[in-house]
Amino acid sequence: MILTLSSRRKLITVAIGFFAGLILLIELYPIGITLLNGFRRDIVILSGQGFSFDQITGRSYEMVFANRQYMAGLWNSVVVGLLSTALSVSFGAMAAYGISRFRFAGRNVLAYSFLVFRMLPQMSLVVALYMMFRAIGLRDTIWGITLAHTSFNAPYVIWLLIPFFITVDRAFEEAAMIDGCSRWKTFLLVFVPLARPGLVVAAVFSFINSWNEFLYALILTGVRAKTAPVAVSGMIGGEVLTWGQMCAASSIMLAPVFIFTLWMQKYLIRGISVGGVKG
């Protein structure tokens, strides 16, 4: 009996490892190609040659690093990504708290109207946004594009957080408030630490949304505030494809988000085990 149980465990573990490996293989294959092609010459990539080690060259990377437009775009992307993540996570968390912890008339309307606003195709909004930003001097500025990104990230964060917030036990807040904490203090000092896993997930995805966003950046920014996706699309959309550089540029863009996720998981797990969500 014990033997069968433990051998079953082992079998399950092996099976999980196998499936995890298989899933990873499928999911990472196109990305692997991209990483690899960043180190191969265009002619090698386009002629569909098999891989061999003598193909490896750093020239695409050299060219990408020498590409001022792209490097400036990368920097802008980092700044805009961090700013809009900070704004949308803090404002979104507050709003999600307001929505999930208070009962008021129009609560559903409010929550769903955030969602509905986010459904509109960007194409339809961007022309008006351009006119508006030009009028108030936000066109082609970091703040302008940050604001635009925050406007679609905040609703996202709100809805992403609602299920997390619902599961956080109210008892902690009630206790804090009985002890005389103000609503704000309770939110910041008691609730936020409890809800950290959700906040971390929200931060990751709102950063990615901003990091990958293309259309707003394309229309609303010019030489000064252009973000990296627009610069990368310049390597694709041209009449001559610079395939190696495109791969190098997008590989570079994968690195920070990957590190961010690895780091974030620590908080995800710790947040859950420390948080007492299991209350």
Binding site: I45, L46, A135, G222, V223, E239, L241
Partner: protein, 438 residues
């Protein structure tokens, strides 16, 4: 009460926005010596950008060049340039879009005189290209690049003695750079059937590109698509000739690489220059030639012969796809903008741009023997310019292009009978023209 407060805040913010907009619209502001320039992204403007410091030093004018993909240039210009306001002092306009912006551009004869560089002599622009910057008889800007169909043929294939012997035995003449579409088809079929190379590389890129292919074939078979008749736009396509052209293209499709139906520039480059099997002969935009002649991106560099496009039964034709540089009426830096264009379109800069592998719209530079020795494609360009043809131009061309792309592709891939496809093109284009009030 708080609801009311929120509402009030929202209204107030919206109003601030509008008020801000009105303030901005009022003309004021000191003329600055800084200009914003919007151009298409290809090696040509990039070569120019590298030369900017010299212009800035000579004139004290700072130039911010922004480069976007061609369709995005159209979008951006449409949003950023109006009668009363513009974010750019100089804009590059693709020839097909000149009608859209014509009313908002400053006619060339009203451009301020240059202080450092003399006014561009428009007669120095290649004659056939000059029309590109003109709309309804008014010269609006300076056509700047000599972009039009040139033909690439694999020299190493036609010079191969063995292939030539076999081809001669079958067809009775020598392999050469095809001068007619019929020759192209015969040689292409020979290479394709003998599994030496693919015969042809079609172009199925964006709607504008497909329109180019259709216009080229129709012109070669003796009909044009849309023309001004009695002062208004009419579809003047001759059904039989149009079908003939489409049928011929269908034959060319049959000797093309697999995936020909979806071949845009990137795939064409891969097929012609990177695939070891390669393609015998096809058209190219001159701006891309450097990529085909660069050993880093091409297996066939040095093996390509350039010529004007092969002729149909009716004659030669080379479709243009050029850009003109214009100054919006609303620009507040017209002097500096004009200065910049005068510099760019000067003979001296053109000579240096040609050396940087780009194609200015100036015949005398393209035929300069000093450059021809090094760049064998230049005379082919001059030949092509002599037979240049343009796509129809009017504000609704975007819609017509979509019709062409859909129906032409159906017709040449065998998904629809070519005659039916041509009829649909005529009918659907007429509907668009009628709605537009022509």
């Amino acid at each position: 009460m708080k609801k009311a407060l929120v509402f009030f805040l929202l209204v107030a913010m919206t109003f601030t926005v509008f008020a801000g907009g009105q303030r901005e619209a009022a003309p004021a502001a000191q003329p600055t010596r800084e200009i914003n320039v919007l151009l298409w992204d290809d090696p040509y403007p990039r070569a120019l950008e590298a030369m900017l410091p010299e212009f800035e030093a000579a004139t004290g004018i700072r130039v911010n060049i922004e480069m976007l993909q061609p369709p995005q240039v159209l979008t951006r210009t449409a949003i950023a340039v109006t009668d009363t306001a513009t974010d750019y002092d100089v804009v590059g306009v693709d020839e097909g879009n000149v009608p859209v912006f014509a009313s908002m551009l400053l006619p060339f004869d009203q451009w301020p005189e240059g202080q450092v560089y003399p006014r561009t002599d428009v007669t120095s622009v290649t004659e056939k290209m000059l029309d590109i910057g003109t709309w309804e008889g008014v010269q609006l800007g300076v056509p700047i690049n000599g972009n039009l169909y040139v033909w690439m043929t694999r020299k190493d294939l036609i010079e191969n003695a063995d292939y030539n012997r076999r081809f001669r035995a079958e067809y009775g003449y020598d392999l050469k750079v095809p001068d007619t579409l019929q020759e192209l088809l015969e040689m292409g079929t020979f290479f394709h059937e003998n599994d030496i190379a693919y015969g042809f590389g079609p172009f199925h890129g964006g709607p504008a590109g497909v329109l180019c292919e259709a216009v080229y074939m129709w012109h070669s078979f003796g009909t044009s698509f849309i023309d001004v008749v009695d002062g208004t736009y009419k579809v003047v396509l001759d059904e039989d000739k149009a079908v003939e052209g489409m049928e011929f293209y269908k034959k060319l499709m049959a000797i093309s690489p697999p995936g020909a139906e979806t071949m845009a520039h990137v795939e064409r480059q891969a097929a012609f220059a990177a695939d070891p099997k390669g393609v015998f002969s096809m058209f190219i935009w001159p701006a891309q030639i450097p990529a085909y002649e660069n050993p880093d991106t091409s297996l066939v560099s040095g093996k390509i012969a350039y010529s004007a496009p092969p002729a149909g039964p009716v004659g030669h034709g080379a479709v243009t796809g050029a850009w003109a540089i214009m100054i919006p009426k609303a620009s507040r830096n017209q002097e500096a903008a004009a200065e910049f264009v005068y510099w760019w379109s000067s003979h001296e800069v053109a000579e240096r741009l040609v050396q940087a592998n780009t194609i200015p719209a100036r015949t005398e530079v393209l035929t300069n023997p000093a450059f021809v020795a090094e760049k064998p494609h230049l005379p082919a360009l001059a030949d092509a310019m002599a037979v240049a043809i343009s796509r129809p131009r009017f504000a609704e061309i975007g819609e017509v292009q979509d019709v062409i792309k859909l129906r032409w592709t159906e017709g040449v891939t065998g998904n629809r009978d070519p005659r039916e496809a041509v009829r649909l093109i005529v009918r659907e284009t007429n509907e668009i023209l009628q709605r537009a009030g022509y």
